[in-house]
């Protein structure tokens, strides 16, 4: 059994918070460059130039790409043959978030109670931690800070199995078009199909982590991704919702077995500053 120190998880997570907030992943930057070539709208071209300059500036000056440094959402894969020297992974990750958001001057965006007093916790905790046990003795941590503007445009629907492929296309396209300029398009569209209600939502979020433009391994789903993307971009919503050829950079679908009575579909959006960072301990 390999032992990882609690403190090393804390330090690593703190660094990950700064990295994810300030450095746009290479695949996202490449997608912005590629999409700019396909754009013809005058305002939209201006916006693409601003996104690219923003990414350069954020990296060079260590400034967050977006002031909404988000809810710290972690996907952890913990080997069955690894353990911490003390405490729990949840405690270590939260301590890392607390330290990282302070150290890197990130915005604290979490309120303790959602409905009544809505008081800011002042250190951006608690985080959300999705923990999965896997074989081996490694600990892999992926952080996807999630902004409120794009998260608020999420959608979930329990379709009838008879709604089929067309039902999925219509629901996803409609959700993205209705979101308009709110989620800061061009967006990355995460879609979860199947599972249960909450698992479809989980898959939609996880789909956002895939390298941009990498199609689904299943050709049927890859084809579906391409069709949905084409329909979204034909809508003309465009960059910032102010018109243009590119409303979304990519559509990523994850799927899972589901109940014979159900066809759950969830949509989760990331803005063009599609942040994520990962580390293996």
């Amino acid at each position: 059994m390999r032992v990882i120190s609690f403190d090393s998880v804390v330090t690593t997570v703190a660094g990950l918070c700064g990295q994810a907030a300030c450095i746009l992943p290479d695949d996202v930057l490449a997608a912005l460059h590629t999409s700019r070539q396909k754009e013809s709208g005058e305002l939209a071209l201006d916006f693409f130039d601003q996104y690219i300059r923003n990414a350069e500036l954020a990296k060079n000056e260590q400034l967050p790409l977006c002031q909404d440094t988000g809810f710290a959402v972690f996907f952890a894969e913990m080997g069955a043959d690894v353990k911490l020297d003390k405490g729990t992974l949840y405690e270590a990750v939260n301590e890392g978030v607390r330290q990282g958001y302070l150290k890197f001057f990130l915005r604290k965006s979490i309120v303790a109670d959602p409905l009544f007093d809505r008081k800011n916790t002042r250190d951006n905790t608690p985080c959300i931690l999705h923990l999965k046990q896997v074989p081996g003795e490694q600990l892999k941590l992926t952080l996807a800070p999630k902004g409120g503007g794009s998260e608020n445009m999420s959608a979930l629907k329990m379709l009838k199995p008879s709604d089929g492929r067309q039902g999925v296309v219509d629901f996803v396209v409609d959700s993205v078009v209705k979101a308009g300029g709110n989620p800061c398009p061009p967006t990355v569209v995460g879609v979860g199909i199947g599972g249960t209600m909450e698992y479809a939502a989980f898959m939609a979020k996880k789909a956002l982590l895939r390298k941009i433009g990498e199609p689904s391994a299943d050709p049927r789903y890859a084809d579906l991704e391409a069709e949905i993307l084409q329909k979204i971009n034909a809508s003309g919503v465009g960059s910032q919702g102010l018109g243009g050829d590119i409303t979304s950079l990519a559509v990523h679908i994850e799927y899972h077995p589901c109940h014979l009575a159900s066809l759950p579909v969830a949509v989760n959006l990331n803005c063009h500053a599609a942040r994520h960072a990962e580390v293996i301990l």
Binding site: Q62, L63, N120, Q240
Partner: protein, 174 residues
């Protein structure tokens, strides 16, 4: 058209702007998100004086990051304006607010107040918070400090790039 503008605004200038115009904005603006707007409207309801004078001014819907050493402010891009739809018409009608800066479409009640009293809605570039921070030369909290990132800041802008998304005639790019 392209304009370089400085706050405060008069009604005539605001009514001369058209949806699609590009603007580089300088001068003082105040920040405000939903929590601050809720308090401003509560003060209006109570007949009390607001902590900031909005006459001829612009409100920027933003909750900035804390300033790193040597900078006046951290990243500071726009938040979704729709959350302010419930409050904006009151500020336009009762305080002569002349401009709002944010992202995303506005509700019909906001557009009618903009038409009736003379107010424009500028779109700032959502998700470009670092770039926008470079157009902010000074920042200080002037009200509701307890709200943290949602407090009202007084910002000094220099050439912040904006687009007139909805003008005072009700024309909209959305």
């Amino acid at each position: 058209m392209k304009y370089k503008l400085t706050t405060p605004f008069d009604e005539k200038l605001i009514r001369s702007l058209h949806a699609g115009d590009k603007v580089e904005l300088s001068g003082t603006v105040y920040t405000g998100r939903d929590a601050a707007h809720k308090r401003l409207v509560a003060l209006l309801d109570a007949g009390e004086k607001l902590p900031v004078d909005l006459d001829g001014q612009a409100i920027y819907f933003v909750g900035p990051c804390p300033p790193p050493p040597g900078r006046p402010i951290g990243s500071a891009g726009p938040t979704t304006s729709g959350r302010m739809d419930a409050y904006s018409p009151r500020l336009i009608a009762e305080c002569a607010l002349r401009a709002m800066i944010g992202k995303g479409d506005r509700a019909e009640n906001v557009k009618s107040a903009m038409k009736e009293y003379g107010c424009v809605y500028f779109a700032a570039t959502g998700g470009a918070g670092a770039l926008i921070a470079n157009s902010i030369v000074a920042a200080e909290v002037v009200a509701f400090e307890d709200l943290g990132p949602e407090a009202i800041y007084k910002l000094e802008l220099r050439d912040l790039p904006l687009v007139v998304a909805i003008d005072a005639e009700g024309n909209s790019l959305y």
